[in-house]
């Protein structure tokens, strides 16, 4: 933010013209950003304010009227919101750490220059994340359906089948497995590129000092990757809070809202049930509040040293 391009020009210029030039450059600067400011205002900020106003409205269809805090009061008594939040946090608490640790381990392994075919492995692990969310969800659904391939495999080795899609617990596990499969490679790429920036000579120095693999990992790689780990944690957290496609396609939020997420509940309130856009907007602001809260916490906890 402080790397202002104006300062370079400022230094080159003689004193008398400085102010007018600075003004001119500033003007051009504003012209350049104005387009994106206008667009972001029309497409993001105005709808945001619209959504906020809408969240205070109640009523049926076109007969909406100001309802004060009605929607927000209903929200606190709505057990489905509680359930959706609970599910989202289960995904968050179990899926994000598992995925990030897995991504870290894989990227450490694939960063080894002596590993044969590492490009192949990198591509193979990254590939899931370019597949379409819907198509991979449908494939997961068919593999893990009650009489799907996975349960047939279990049956073949003499185990009893797991009710992946109809048992509330296993349905959550299935969602976690799916998103981990889809997103681990994506995060791995960040770690790999982060590791490219770590000077190899410090590893050599550590090896000469007798550091083993684990010590190198915990005392060098992870601390040096900290900004990237923070970044992936935040994006994964936000991604999980917005989780929609997988749940919608694999379990449709079932069984009995056992896997429903906040985004999906918002969608249902608008497009599946009797449309109630006011209440849906109120629920959406819960996600806003949560994302802000979580981002601030994560930056407070992990962001200190990279400033």
């Amino acid at each position: 933010m402080s790397g202002n391009p104006n300062t370079v020009a400022k230094q080159r210029q003689n004193q008398p013209n400085r102010h007018s030039l600075e003004k001119r450059l500033n003007r051009w600067g504003w012209i350049f950003v104005s387009l994106s400011i206008v667009l972001i205002t029309i497409f993001v900020f105005i709808p945001m304010i619209g959504a906020l106003i809408m969240s205070f409205q109640t009523g049926k269809g076109v007969n909406m009227h100001f309802g004060g805090l009605t929607n927000y009061i209903r929200l606190f008594h709505d057990q489905t919101v509680g359930k959706a939040l609970g599910n989202t946090f289960v995904y968050l608490i179990f899926q994000v750490p598992v995925m990030l640790i897995l991504a870290l381990i894989i990227s450490v392994l694939l960063n080894d220059k002596n590993l044969k075919g590492r490009t192949f492995f990198r591509v193979a692990i990254f590939l899931p994340c370019i597949t379409s969310l819907v198509s991979y969800s449908l494939i997961m659904k068919s593999i893990f359906s009650n009489d799907g391939i996975f349960n047939q495999m279990l049956a073949n080795i003499g185990l009893s089948p797991i009710m992946w899609t109809t048992d509330p617990f296993w349905a959550k596990v299935l969602i976690i497995i799916s998103i981990t499969w889809r997103w681990t490679g994506y995060n791995m790429i960040f770690y790999l590129s982060g590791m490219q920036n770590i000077e190899p000579s410090i590893y050599e120095a550590a090896e000469i000092d007798g550091a083993n693999f684990l010590q190198k990992l915990t005392h060098m790689t992870i601390p040096l990757l900290k900004p990237i780990i923070l970044f992936t944690t935040i994006t994964s957290t936000i991604g999980t809070l917005q989780l929609f496609d997988e749940v919608q396609n694999i379990t449709q939020g079932g069984p009995a809202n056992g896997t429903i997420t906040i985004s999906q509940y918002i969608y249902n309130l608008c497009f599946k049930y009797t449309p109630n856009f006011g209440y849906a907007a109120a629920v959406a602001f819960i996600v806003v509040a949560l994302t802000m809260l979580l981002s601030i916490i994560q930056m407070k906890v992990g962001g200190k040293e990279n400033q």
């Binding site: 359930k83 009710m163 996600v287």
Partner: protein
């Protein structure tokens, strides 16, 4: 830099709101079928290629003989997508790309009529009330005006496998005038003798509970649209039956519509309790021809007013008022689904349609037995049973309430007391109903 962090947090939050806000607008503009500018071009939306889309196409052919100038475009679209598009268009008031005629499920129509008055055309002059069954008309009548043309009946019945029932030691006559106690008793015998389940259950789809309630003339809401959960004797009995079947082990659990159909097609269950339109799904398994039969809906013996008839699903045709071509659309419906007995009789043969148009009862195909269903005159049966279906007020929020109910059912199956659970659900449903009011 602390300020930056907060700005970053706000921005990332802003992106989320942006996404939710955008998703509302996106669906609206996406359909490029913004045509029907000329009065003689009609667009019809329906959702089942083997059933109502086919019906619309046959109606299109019939109408082409009456009005050769009109060009009719039948579009097949998933029901969820139709609902999402209707919700967006009606909410925004922008009817670009919307069809002239759309099929809407009976459970949902009350909401559209109450939430968006004036959006759907008054079809009182098209639909003759004395020609259609009462229970069906009631759902689409608002302040004395009829807004739709009734299409299919959802007469509920028991589809059963004669071979499996016989192996269990029961006869076709045992299946007549069933009660749920008897149904469970037969289910236990089927399980013991054949190892098959009696029926499949999808924990996210409470169609069975809905059928049970309606067989006693009750619904999630009462006649005035108020939440009717905690003191609803029919609902309590329905849940008791549901739980009993689950605990007796005569059910298998499936997830999603297709999984249920394949459980039936793959002989995993001996019966399916469904609306009569389910016949086309059962017929998919051609190798089971002749092994199926149909029995009336079982009665709840512990609830007063319960009968051997109920309803599941069913839909009707509606005209969107602001889309150009309204008069042609009304003419189309009045000359096809609202009066053409020959068309409706043919549809009975072609798509197993059970109509709610009273004159069809004397049609040729309606009275023809079906070889797939042990040569039973099933269409005639369904027509007869349709007349006994108790009319109920579906209210405006069936699917919202049902989502809460699935949670209630889950905890009841896991051992929670029915009374306590329903008391909780009552509060939640009151929240939904009052928010919609």
């Amino acid at each position: 830099m602390k300020g930056n962090r907060i700005v970053a947090a706000i921005l990332s939050a802003a992106m989320i709101v942006g996404m939710t806000a955008c998703s509302g607008g996106g669906a609206n503009t996406s359909s490029a079928a913004a045509n029907s500018q000329t009065a003689d071009k009609l667009t019809i939306w329906a959702w089942d290629d083997t059933f109502n889309v086919k019906a619309a196409n046959e109606a299109k052919e019939a109408y082409a003989k009456i009005n050769p100038d009109a060009s009719v475009d039948v579009v097949s679209m998933a029901q969820n997508d139709i609902v999402a598009k209707l919700n967006t268009a009606f909410e925004s008031g922008n009817m670009d790309g919307m069809p002239n005629i759309v099929l809407i499920e009976d459970y949902r129509i009350q909401n559209y009529l109450k939430s968006y008055p004036g959006v759907l055309s008054d079809l009182s002059d098209v639909t003759k009330p004395d020609k259609f069954m009462d229970y069906k008309l009631k759902t689409m009548t608002e302040e004395g005006k009829v807004y739709g043309v009734p299409f299919d009946s959802g007469a509920a019945c028991v589809f059963y496998r004669t071979d499996l029932i016989e192996q269990a030691g029961y006869k076709a006559s045992d299946m007549e005038n069933l009660t749920w106690d008897k149904f469970i008793e037969i289910g236990k015998a089927v399980k013991a003798k054949t190892g098959k389940a009696m029926l499949y259950i999808d924990p996210s789809d409470l169609g069975l509970i809905r059928m049970l309630m309606q067989s006693a003339g009750k619904w999630y809401v009462d006649a005035d649209g108020k939440a009717d959960i905690a003191n609803n004797a029919a609902l309590k009995e329905a849940l008791t039956i549901y739980k009993k079947m689950e605990s007796e082990g005569i059910t298998i659990t499936t997830s999603g519509w297709d999984a249920g159909v394949s459980a039936v097609n793959e002989s995993k269950v001996a019966t399916a309790v469904q609306g009569c339109w389910y016949a086309s799904s059962i017929k998919k398994a051609a190798d089971q021809s002749g092994k199926w039969a149909v029995a009336p809906f079982p009665k709840m013996s512990n609830v007063s007013g319960a009968v051997n008839a109920s309803n599941c699903g069913g839909a009707s045709w509606y005209v969107i008022d602001k889309v150009p071509g309204k008069d042609t659309a009304k003419d189309f419906l009045s000359k096809t689904f609202a009066s053409d007995t020959e068309l409706l009789d043919n549809l009975c043969k072609d798509i197993s349609l059970v109509n709610t148009y009273k004159d069809v009862a004397s049609g040729k195909n309606v009275n023809t037995p079906d070889a797939f269903f042990s040569s039973q005159p099933i269409y005639k049966n369904w027509n007869d049973w349709t007349q006994n279906i108790p009319a109920v007020n579906y209210g405006t929020s069936t699917y919202d309430i049902e989502s809460k109910m699935t949670e209630a059912v889950q905890s009841i199956i896991n051992g929670a007391s029915i009374d306590d659970t329903l008391k909780n659900t009552q509060t939640e449903v009151e929240g939904i109903v009052s928010a919609a009011g």
